[in-house]
């Protein structure tokens, strides 16, 4: 089969599976496979967090720039698209003649708006702040995200401090979430495998060397920042229309930390690692809710304590994350038997990127 036919068949199969899963979500007991409301919500959040983690990994994992502002771009996507659907969604739908198609089209436009506005903001924030390095960049991205949140908090047109009720009929099914999670993964993968990706990785490994080799580091850093922000915006759109209520406390730097934890846990610079991290970090606190109550003491109350303790233990025992920089996939399964070191060119055997490891030692020496 030619490559593109293979891809088309793959895409078709994926869409059918996604549609089937989506049909099961929220319908407990359907053919014995359906998911209850609670499980469905967790599944949706998993999908949204996958988008966030995979997109953040492009900046933090592949470009090596440390951003803690992802929640801010998510907020921009959520609020800008909700503004559009709440105030203009109905009219536009009627103008398009109504019906299911117009409905889907308007929601697609909402997603595009979220992506474009968040990406544009990423450009605005990225150009000045990406001149900074390391921890300074981290704190500036955090600062921008907090400013975005506080500005939204003061905008009465989107509800201000009382929150914004996204009272529209755009039921975000799992189909949408899964579709955009897949699009995020494919786009990030293609970017990483392209020339651009090589440039990004060269910046991560050694920014000065990359610059010396003629890589326009600022341009590539801003580019990865914009792509990443746009997808954070998409995640925000889905989150807002799924929750149907937006409040700024959902977008504090704690949320940004959560996404960083996902990618570090899964392995920085690994797309499948980010997916794995997103799944684990979303489900783990929910699983800990099920802890039993022994002798009048409810262990479920300790779930966040256990979560934090587990995080520290993982960092102590497996600092490079579960996957390091490896990817899980069909290739990985095949290669794992033949040449285990085949995909380890960039990192050393512990999976820590060479530049990060050596760079730290050098930095200490230089001081």
């Amino acid at each position: 089969m030619p490559g593109f036919v293979k891809k088309l068949v793959g895409a078709a199969v994926f869409l059918v599976v996604l549609y089937a899963v989506s049909a099961l979500v929220g319908r407990e007991g359907l053919f014995g496979f359906g998911l209850g409301a609670y499980e469905s919500e967790v599944l949706m959040l998993v999908g949204i967090n996958v988008i966030l983690a995979v997109s953040l990994n492009l900046i933090n994992g592949f470009t090596g720039q440390f951003s803690i502002g992802h929640a801010g771009f998510m907020a921009i996507g959520a609020y800008s698209s909700a503004y559009f659907t709440v105030y203009h969604g109905q009219n536009l739908e009627q103008a398009l003649g109504g019906g299911a198609f117009a409905h889907a089209l308007v929601f697609t436009v909402a997603i595009l708006i979220g992506a474009v506005v968040a990406g544009g903001m990423g450009l605005l924030v990225g150009i000045p702040s990406l001149r900074l390095r390391g921890d300074y960049l981290a704190i500036v991205t955090l600062g921008f995200a907090e400013i975005i949140r506080i500005v939204i908090l003061n905008l009465d047109v989107v509800g201000g401090a009382t929150g914004f009720s996204v009272n529209v009929t755009y039921p975000v099914t799992f189909f949408w979430v899964g579709l955009f999670a897949a699009i995020t993964i494919i786009v990030v993968r293609n970017v990483v495998k392209s020339d651009t990706g090589r440039a990004l990785i060269s910046i991560r490994e050694d920014e000065l060397a990359a610059e010396a080799m003629g890589v326009n580091t600022t341009r590539y850093k801003v580019l990865s920042f914009v792509i990443s922000s746009a997808f954070a915006g998409v995640a925000g759109v889905l989150f807002g229309h799924f929750k149907r209520f937006l409040a700024t406390p959902d977008f504090t730097f704690i949320k940004s930390f959560e996404v960083i934890i996902m990618i570090v846990l899964g392995g920085m610079g690994s797309i499948t690692g980010a997916v794995l991290g997103a799944v684990v970090i979303t489900i783990l606190p929910e699983l800990l809710r099920q802890l039993p109550s022994v002798g009048g003491f409810n262990f479920a109350d300790l779930r966040l304590v256990i979560y934090a303790a587990l995080l520290i233990v993982i960092m102590l025992t497996r600092p490079q994350g579960v996957l390091g920089e490896r990817e899980i996939g069909f290739n990985w399964l095949r290669r794992a038997q033949k040449a285990p070191e085949g995909d380890r060119q960039v990192g050393d055997d512990t999976g820590v990127p060479i530049a990060q490891r050596a760079g730290d030692a050098e930095e200490v020496e230089k001081r």
Binding site: L132, F144, A212, I260, A309, L311, L316, E365, R367
Partner: protein, 305 residues
């Protein structure tokens, strides 16, 4: 004029507390290049330590200078021990790994302290006992300064001078500066770097605890999540002044405290609602970093290949 002076006094009060906390961030960063995200929570735990010491030793009912001193020193000691324990059991084992790992460990430690405190102390805020009879001294016009504010200024200045003395006049301080200049060379010169790092954590944590007790005298409600936003602003203050730079942390803290109070006091006049209070620190930080990427007093280190 008197309103301005009043705002300035209030701003510098908040700023002194930011400065005390910022010192811990900046010292740890100076030595380990680690953003100790758990530092804000040590500030919170310092306030709780003070609360329990005051209750158990019976200083809660009868304000006295001796009681205040005991509570302050007691909570500083408790926080110092906690800081040392955190360094020893969480940060030291990951120190050899990539920076991101230590950073996530710090975030995890912060989450652990917060959530553990919510379980142990319960989420409901507690009223911190008054340890010193408060009274207000009128300066001129309507401007006044309260005894608590004088206390905060006094204690902060004493602690900062003490820190200055430790860092620049003692042997251990010289070692601290050597380690922060170059950890490996310091080790080669026979400095016990591990001990110095532990000492730095103890020192920073004690200052944060003092900040916690002093805040609780000024604004007597303590709760387990009080360290998040204050800690963040103190960190911003440290970066603003030039992270790793001790006078910079003090300058940054005072600046942010004053700016915040002025936005609340005068912001309306220029169309900035007081709800922007929490954004001010970040806005100043971003503006300063765009023009001085190493902070106000920081020096740019030229990168060598």
């Amino acid at each position: 004029m008197d309103t301005f002076v009043q705002q300035l006094i209030n701003g510098l009060t908040v700023g002194s507390i930011y400065a005390l906390i910022a010192l811990g961030y900046t010292m740890v960063y100076g030595i380990l290049r680690l953003i100790n995200f758990a530092h804000g929570d040590i500030y919170m735990l310092g306030a709780y330590a003070g609360y329990f010491i005051a209750r158990w030793l019976g200083f809660a009912g009868e304000p006295s200078v001796a009681g205040l001193a005991v509570v302050l020193v007691g909570s500083m000691l408790a926080a110092a021990l906690l800081g040392m324990a955190i360094e020893r059991f969480a940060y030291r084992p990951v120190r050899k790994y990539a920076r991101m790992t230590t950073l996530i460990t710090a975030i995890g430690m912060s989450l652990l302290l917060e959530n553990l405190s919510v379980v142990i102390f319960e989420g409901t805020p507690r009223a911190f006992p008054e340890l010193l009879h408060n009274s207000t001294y009128r300066l001129f016009g309507n401007a006044a300064i309260s005894k608590t504010q004088l206390l905060i200024f006094g204690v902060s200045i004493i602690l900062m001078l003490l820190l200055q003395w430790i860092v620049y006049r003692t042997k251990v301080g010289t070692a601290m500066r050597a380690v922060s200049f170059n950890l490996n060379s310091a080790k080669l010169m026979g400095i016990n770097t591990d001990a110095i790092i532990v000492f730095t954590f103890a020192l920073g944590s004690a200052l944060a605890a003092a900040g916690g007790v002093l805040t609780a005298q000024y604004n007597p409600t303590i709760y387990p999540l009080m360290g998040i936003i204050t800690g963040l602003k103190a960190f911003v203050a440290a970066v603003l002044g030039g992270i790793g730079n001790i006078p910079g942390a003090v300058l940054g803290g005072l600046l942010i405290g004053a700016a915040e109070t002025f936005v609340v006091g005068y912001g309306q006049l220029v169309g900035i609602p007081s709800t922007y209070r929490d954004a001010v620190a970040f806005a100043i930080l971003i503006l300063v970093l765009l023009f001085r990427p190493a902070g106000l007093l920081g020096t740019t280190v030229q990168e060598k290949v």
